[in-house]
Structure formats: C-alpha cells, structure tokens
C-alpha cells in the first residue's frame, strides 16, 4: 500500500488573534510552560481528529519541512504539522521509495519524538548567569544584552591575559547536521567563525566516536581512506562485521540500517557478526554470531592469522607487493629480526608467545575450533567484505584493535576490490556541498578531543610526545575558557563524570564556561553563562545529509515555528557578540542567516548543477541526487592495481602492518606506566581489560556502553515517550545475574571506585558472560547519596586515554553489580 500526500500547505502561519509569544506566556502562566509531558490534548485537538479537523479558527493544519540533525550518522527530514503556532504532529519523509539509491528517509523512533524535545519542561527559556558555586544550579536571569556584553568581555580578557590558545571549543554534536547552526567539527561552526575573527581558538582533533581508529588509519594506511559501502557486500560471498551495529547505530530508515537490510534481502550474503552483544544487527542479518570479550578483537585476528599462516591460506602475493611488515622479508631497515607480524604470530618475536587458536581462545572467549573454522572460511571465501564499527576501537588498546582488523583484510587480499573492503567502517556517498561559511583558525595548536580535562587541569605540562599535542611542541597555557555549544561532553559524555565535575567546580582553573543549548542538560548546569538556543526546527537552515549508502541528498529545514520564550538562533548570538568584539562584519559578511543559506546553495550548485533553487528546495524539503553513483566507491582500487604508481601516504608507500612511525614513536614518546605503543597490531592487555577482570574479585565484570535506541548519545534523553519505550537498563548475562541473585527488571547498582549508578537490570542471553553493558548517554542524576539514578555509564568510565591517539577508552571499564 503506498501513501499519497495531499496535505494542505500554506506558507502563511495562521494568526488567531493571539500573538504567538503572548500565547506561550499565557500557557506558561496557566500550566507551567509549554510542557508536553503527558497526553493532554493541546488546543482542543482531540485524538484522532484527523488531518483536516482543527480548532484553529483559520482552519487547517499546515505542514513544513524540517529535519532531525543529531549525531546518529544519519539525517532524516521531518514533516511538521503546525496549528496555532505549535507543532502538533511530526511526520516522516513521504518522498522517495523503498529502493536503494532513492530510498525514503524515514525518521527513527527518536526523530519521530521531536515534539517531546521541543516542548520539554526542561527547555531553556531565558539567558542565565550562574550565582553560587558552578554546577549548583542557582541562576539569575539576565538580558541578552548583558549576556553578550559579559561573554565578549570574558573573551577579550582571556585573550589579553592568556592568549587565544586558552579558549577551547568543546566537542558537541547536538546539531551536527545543520550548516549555519552547526555544532561540530569546530572549523565549520558559528562559534569557530566568531573566534576566528578575533584570533582563533584551541582546536581538538579526532572525536569521541573514532579517536583510536583515526590514529590507526594514520599509521597503517597513511590517513583516512574510507571503505566500501555497506551495499557493496552484495558483491561479496561473505560479510564479516566486527563490532558494527548499523541496525541500531544508524537507525534511520533511509540510512545504513536500511542499506544493510536491503542488501541482505537482495543478496542473501552470508553474514557473521563479531560482537560482545547479540546486537540488533546480529539479530537482523547475521547467520552466525561470534561473541567475544570486549577489547580482544586483535587477539581473535591473531588467532585466525595463525591458522592462515600455518595452513598457507593467506594471500602472500598481495602482502608481498602491497604491504610492509607482514613477514621478515618485508621489513624496513634497522629493525631487529623477529619484528614482523609472522614472527609475532609464531612466537618468534620478543614475547616468545605463539598466538595459537588456543591462546586466542583463552583471551577472547571464542572456542579454539570456532577460531579455526572462521579463519578458514574468511581466508578461502572470495571476496569477503570485512568491516568494523567503532566498538572495537573505543578501548584502551583501540588503535591496535582497529589495525588488527585492517591486517586481516590485507592478509586475505580483499583490499581494493568490489565486495571487499579496507576494514574501516563502511563508506558512503555524499553530495559535494560547498561551504563558504567555514573559517580559518589562526591558532594551529590542537589537542586530542578527550584530553581537554587534562588541558584544564595541567595544560602547560602537555607536550607533543607525552600528550599528543599537535600543531605545537607543547601547550603554553591551560584552557581558561570553554565554549560548549550543543554538547554534553562537558560532563555527561566525558569519562569519569564525578572527577570531571570536581574539576569544573574549581573556577580558578577554567574561568569561564559558556553553554548554548536548548534544554537544561547535565552540562548546562555547569555554565557560567547559559544561553537558550533555538531548535533547528525553529530556524531556517540547510541540513547536510547523513550516510545513506550510495544516495546523496540535502534538506532545507524551514523555520517551522518561531523560537519560544527568549530563545535565539546561535547565528544571532554570535553576530551580537562579534559586534561587541568589533568584528561583526567579518562574522556575518553582511548576510542574514537566510542569505547565507542561499549563498551556500549557490556555491554548491557549481559542483551539483542539478541542485534546485532555494524556493524549490523550501517547497520540496528534501532533494535527492537523481544520478547517484551506480556502484559504490572502492577505496584503494588504484593502489591495488599499481602500488608503485599510486603509493599510500605512509613512509613506505605501502600498507604498514609494521608501522615505521609507530616504531619510532614507541622510542620517543613518554607514556604513562602500563601503556605501550607497538609497531604491529598486537593484542595488548591493558588497565581494566579482560585479563585484569578475571584476576579481580572486586570489579570482575567488563562494562561497555552500547549506543541505544532511546537516545542519540544524550540527545533525546530524559523524555517521557522515549523513556517509556526504551528504559535505561543494564544488560547482563543470566549466569552473572544468577550468581548475584539478580532477576530481570530487578533494581541493581553498578559501581567501581569512580562512581555508582542505579538502574533496572535486563537479564538477557544476548550478552557474553563476564560482560555488562550500560547504554551510553543517560543523563547523570546524582541523588543525595551521590548515586547516579539516571544511570550514566560515564559515572563509571575513566579519563585514561589510549596510547597513540589519546582517545577515549570508554568501553574499557571494570565494575561490579549488586542488587540495590
């Protein structure tokens, strides 16, 4: 059954004799703000009264296009129906079809709950300034003028006193798909644009999603090269997914979940999912699920590699011509014997341990004969599509995890071919939109994205070789001011929340925190000045696509309703602050937000001649590239064909299974006790890893934090409908539960030395024994005893970083669980 859409549309917002602002003030007086916490009917609209019926005097509902712009990897248009200045219904995309390449981009359960965010009781309403201790939640309401003045003063003061490097733009992805109102990456955000008019800011590299794998590709392939798209698996005879869960982490009905499902439907490609959890992807498309302990993928690869080498199943030819470091004959000079991967596998390296399937079984939990069988199957099936998600790399040994999977692909000769891959996460096509809004940062210094707490606490101690500082040898000054726009990494999404907020509470360290957000999040509580942002549906903006296989598209998000209360757009905020700093013209270039959108569309039309006009795009909402590539991009196709002609940007020009640069870094870098940088993708036992888990009695369970349907990270958190649909729970295996007398739905506490959370247990067969998972992104809610009853996994995680790219090891945590 296909749908037709004959909604009445009108570009005029119906007026009903009551100005929107006064209506909202009235309803605030009448009933505590524009709360939509329960099912009470608004504006007298009865349930199921239908599209055409409305109490609105001017009659009819009007529909406008907007989108959900959060950091879920996808991006979905939303049709919003408005009556009396209020969104009353959120409808999914109804353009496109069910075919790959032109698919309807149906919003997921979160996007469909958009209204709950818009009208949440914790919506920020007026600019506020902290009184009392930072984080105490005591505020005075101030005018916008005062807010702008004070922020501009602080920026100027800190630049004068410490320099631009003392001002940091924190990681925040709440509005990542916007263009003018875009919160990340820094370089293309309005905050960066503002700061770049007055000398720049301290930047960060990598992100909370991919820090370690970015480090891995840098030294293994010489940089980010992408991977075959998920639909390319149709050309494969075997699909192997390491810790990748598109059916939950790319849930859009137009994104990779859809691509994965369709590909599987059409090609029936045999699929193996390797993951500590029987994820939705395993449930949906896997023929076999291989559970393993978190952080042991590199050991699994080594065990399989041992089988391949022992039985001569690997692609020696490819390794010879395209790779450095696999065997002793293909090593760089001045490196001792026994440093190759084969030597590592066969016990002929420095550790003298042979990486047999039995060795790997003991570490990973995967039975040895399964490892042998998998090795044979993966090696002999051609082509095999091997892809990793971002689970394996988000560990204390994450760089090596990622590199091990790259090595597996090289060993089986599946690189640079259709139906093969590079072992990175899937690639996808994207429209080559232009972005003249981007700005240049005069400051070159950049810190690892996860190290900002170190930079606040002890900035000048951080150097290139002990802390991964880039663009300079060291930090000259600590972070003194933080801009936190549409982000929760200031607290909730960072590790060790208790320690983080303790750091923030000391305002002699970080002296100024400006938070711009739509709701009173955990991070908003730690602002010195808190500015109420307009939601993306409350402003006009160009919305960038998410990853959707081979489909390219763009969305024009209309201003569906006006911002409520005193909320303003971030563009207006930055313009006003720039004015006080004397750089308004530099910031705006004389354009309004709409003029910028038009300008960007015009600039993009150079590379995308079919791109519709602004007016057309506003009408249609979402536009798809009518000529997407027929086949997905195959990375390293040229390199495979002729590695001499198309070398990689590595020192050897080849794939470096033994990385020369890492070999040198291992010598020159100063690492914390216990950290190791290895030139080979060795399995590393780390702090709070699976080996330590089995030795400890106090915290014997490995705790990971999977991405969960209730939220996108912490966005969409704390909303009634979504909490009802997907309550915050901790997954645990029945064996572990029985040992502790825990039944399904019992309230439990998960704890370690860093903190304690309380939430219901989900006793499920869908997770490996010895492993628990607390879905990440729940809102930290400490009760009087300091127990986090919101159930945030980061109450338990650590600040400690991975060795190479100083990334967040947020899946490397040990805990204990007990009935509450």
């Amino acid at each position: 059954m296909t749908a037709t859409s004959d909604h009445p549309t009108s570009t005029d917002v119906p007026s009903n004799g009551l100005s929107r602002r006064s209506f909202l003030k009235w309803s605030a007086a009448a009933g505590g703000g524009v709360a939509l916490a329960s099912g009470t009917n608004q504006l007298g609209l009865l349930p199921g009264s239908g599209l055409w019926a409305s109490e609105d005097e001017d009659g009819g509902l009007e529909t406008r296009w907007s989108a959900c712009v959060v950091n879920c990897g996808s991006c979905c248009p939303l049709r919003m129906q408005v009556a009396g200045g209020r969104v009353v219904r959120v409808l999914p995309d109804d353009t496109g079809d069910d075919e790959l390449g032109s698919q309807q981009i149906r919003a997921c359960v979160r996007g469909l709950s958009y209204r709950q965010r818009m009208y949440s009781p914790d919506r920020l309403k007026v600019p506020m300034k902290r009184v009392g201790k930072r984080g105490a939640g005591e505020w005075e309401e101030i005018s916008w003028e005062q807010a702008y003045d004070e922020i501009a003063e602080a920026v100027q003061r800190i630049i004068d006193e410490y320099g631009n490097e003392a001002i940091y733009l924190n990681y925040g992805t709440g509005t990542i798909r916007g263009t003018i109102a875009k919160s990340w990456p820094p370089a293309i955000t309005p905050i960066a644009r503002l700061m770049n008019t007055v000398g720049g800011y301290l930047n960060h590299y990598a992100d909370y999603s991919t820090a370690q794998i970015q480090g891995a590709v840098a030294y293994h392939y010489g940089g980010w090269i992408g991977a075959n798209s998920l639909d390319d698996a149709k050309s494969a005879n075997l699909q192997v997914l390491f810790g990748n869960n598109p059916l939950e982490t790319r849930m859009s009905g137009g994104g990779e979940a859809f691509v994965t499902q369709r590909t599987r439907e059409q090609s029936k490609v045999r699929t193996i999912v390797i993951d500590p959890r029987y994820s939705e992807t395993a449930l949906g498309v896997a023929d076999e699920w291989v559970p393993l302990r978190p952080g042991t993928d590199a050991a699994l690869v080594a065990g399989m590699a041992h089988v391949m080498v022992s039985e001569d199943l690997h692609d020696q030819e490819f390794l010879d011509s395209h790779c450095q470091g696999f065997d002793e004959d293909h090593m760089p000079e001045d490196v001792p014997e026994g440093s190759s991967y084969v030597a590592y596998l066969m016990g002929e390296g420095p550790d003298g341990v042979e990486k047999t399937p039995e060795w790997a079984a003991s570490i990973t939990g995967v039975p040895a004969d399964t490892i042998v069988r998998l090795a044979r199957e993966i090696a002999t099936t051609k082509p095999t599509y091997i892809n990793q998600g971002w689970g394996p790399q988000r560990h204390a040994n994450g760089e090596n995890q990622a590199r091990a999977i790259f090595t597996l692909v090289a060993m089986t000769g599946n690189i640079g071919i259709r139906g093969g891959s590079t072992g990175e996460r899937e690639g996808s096509y994207g429209l080559p939109m232009a972005n003249p809004y981007a700005s240049e940062n005069p400051v070159e210094t950049s810190i690892p994205v996860f190290a900002w707490t170190d930079a606040v606490e002890k900035g000048p101690e951080m150097t290139a070789t002990n802390a991964g500082v880039q663009g300079a040898d060291r930090l000259e000054v600590p972070i003194k001011m933080i801009w936190n726009y549409a982000g929760n990494a200031l607290t909730n999404q960072h590790g060790d929340i208790n320690r983080t907020i303790e750091l923030l509470e000391d305002d002699s360290k970080c002296e100024m925190i400006v938070v711009i957000d739509t709701r009173m999040t955990v991070s908003a509580r730690y602002a010195d000045i808190l500015l109420p942002d307009a939601m993306n549906a409350e402003q006009l903006d160009l919305v960038a696509q998410g990853s959707a296989g081979n489909m390219g598209y763009t969305i024009l998000g209309d201003q569906v309703v006006e911002p409520p209360f005193e909320c303003k757009t971030v563009y207006e905020m930055c313009s006003e602050i720039a004015k006080r700093l004397g750089t308004e013209e530099d910031f705006t270039e004389g354009r309004t937000q709409e003029e910028w959108v038009r300008h960007i569309l015009d600039a993009s039309r150079e590379d995308i001649p079919d791109l519709p006009s602004f007016e057309e795009l506003k009408e249609m909402g979402v536009w798809r590239d009518p000529n997407p590539p027929e086949v997905g991009y195959v990375p390293l196709e040229d390199f495979r064909a002729d590695p001499e002609e198309h070398p990689l940007p590595t020192p050897s020009g080849k794939i470096e299974i033994f990385s020369t640069e890492l070999w040198e870094m291992a010598e020159t870098w100063e690492l914390p006790e216990g950290d190791r940088i290895t030139a080979l993708p060795e399995h590393l036992d780390t702090w709070e890893g699976p080996a330590e888990a089995r030795e400890r009695d106090d915290h014997p369970l490995q705790c990971i934090g999977h991405h969960y349907k209730q939220r996108t990270h912490s966005t969409y958190g704390n909303l009634p409908w979504l909490e009802e649909a997907h309550p915050q729970i901790v997954w645990m295996n029945p064996v572990d539960a029985e040992e502790r007398g825990i039944g399904n739905d019992d309230t439990v506490e998960v704890f370690n030395e860093r903190g304690r959370i309380r939430l219901p247990a989900r006793v499920t067969v869908r997770i490996a024994p010895g492993v628990v998972s607390v879905p990440q992104g729940a809102w930290f809610t400490p009760n009087e005893q300091g127990v986090d009853v919101g159930g945030s996994v980061n109450t338990l995680t650590s600040w400690r970083q991975s060795p190479i790219h100083k990334g967040n090891a947020q899946h490397t945590t040990l805990v204990q669980i007990a009935r509450a």
Binding site: G39, G50, L247, G253, G284, A361, T364, G365, E724
Partner: protein
C-alpha cells in the same frame, strides 16, 4: 462485512526500535502508559561455558502488535455496554459515549489491544488510523516504520501476498480470536505454544 482489514508484519526486518509505537503516540497524543501499539522482545536459549571460552545457543526476535481487529473479537463479546464494537470493515473501535471503563475487554484480549486511559476513564485502542485511511494515507505506524516491516489492507490480499501465519510464540493460537494478522516469521521465531523463550521486556508491553 464488506472488506476485512488487517495488518501485515515482516518480523525478519524488525529491530525493536518502536518507531511504530511512537508514531502512533505522536498522532493520537496518548499518555504515558497508554500504548496503542507495543513491541515485545522474545528471547531464550542457553550459554555453554567451558573453561575460558563460551558458546551461545540463543535466539531473539521482536514482535510489534497494535490491534488485530479479530474476526472473533473477544473484546467485543465481553463488553457490557457495546462500547467496544466492530465496524463494517472489521475495525474494532471504542464508543466513548458508552464506555464505562470497566476494563473487562482489557482482561480478555491476549494482544493487549484495549488500553485503559486513566485520564479519560475509558478504554482506547488502535482504530487502524481511520482518518488517515479515509484520506488515502497509510496508518501512522505503517508509514513510519524505518524498516518497512509493516503493511495493512484487506486481509485476503495480505494473505495472498504474504501467506497466512497468524501466530508465533509468544502469541496465542490464532484460533482463540482469529486475528486479522499476517506475519512473516523471523528465522528464530518459534511456533505458538513453544516454551523455550520468554518476553524479555515485560514492563514495556
């Protein structure tokens, strides 16, 4: 009866996301605790732990359920006021003017279709989005499902196109109420009456 309508559910595609549940809530503004469509996770199996290694023999799948507008709608039979009634097209609806909120229908339905709304004091339930259908649109849940796992229409057409499986564990035998439902079972789905699994998320259903 003119044309009997029903739902089709492709269980092989469902990832338990509940977009269907939320789309319905958004359209009808139903309160917390009132869900005209619900999604259950059904799982079971065992783990074998041998020394340092482990082997799962487990299964899991999802079921979404609104109302099956059954041919033998037990909720209609038991209702003392005739508030719960069945229309020409088979769709079962509640007449708010008659309903006393005794919740007898709630007791009778093995699919939890009748939902008590504490605010109105009456029962409420899926009506297959009557107004959308009349406007030539799909019901909210069908249009929303990101996996395209839902369809609807005359039950004869659905059966012709998709087969006639109308019950899998943990659902009851279709002979109890004769639901107008067609399911394409997940590879791990068990037949009605199988006892190896259980609903993993009972509080949510």
């Amino acid at each position: 009866m003119a044309v009997t309508l029903g739902f089709y559910f492709d269980q092989t595609l469902c990832n338990g996301c509940k977009a269907c549940q939320i789309a319905c809530k958004d359209k009808h503004d139903t309160a917390i605790g009132v869900n005209w469509r619900r999604v259950a996770e059904y799982s079971g199996g065992t783990w074998q732990i041998t020394g340092d290694t482990f082997s799962p023999n487990i299964f899991a799948n999802y079921l979404t359920m609104a109302c099956n507008h059954c041919d033998d709608a037990v909720c209609v039979d038991v209702c003392p006021t005739t508030a719960m009634h069945q229309r020409e097209d088979g769709v079962v609806v509640v007449d708010d003017d008659l309903c006393v909120g005794c919740r007898y229908c709630e007791w009778s339905c093995p699919y939890s279709a009748p939902q008590y709304d504490a605010e109105t004091g009456r029962m409420s339930k899926c009506d297959l989005c009557t107004d959308y259908r009349e406007a030539g649109l799909d019901p909210a849940c069908v249009a929303a499902c990101p996996s395209r796992a839902l369809d609807w229409g005359p039950i004869d057409e659905l059966r012709e196109q998709y087969g006639d499986v109308a019950g899998i564990a943990p659902l009851p035998d279709p002979s109890v109420t004769r639901p107008n439902l067609v399911i394409r079972p997940h590879h791990s789905a068990e037949p009605v009456g199988a006892a190896t699994g259980a609903i993993t998320n009972p509080r949510e259903v």
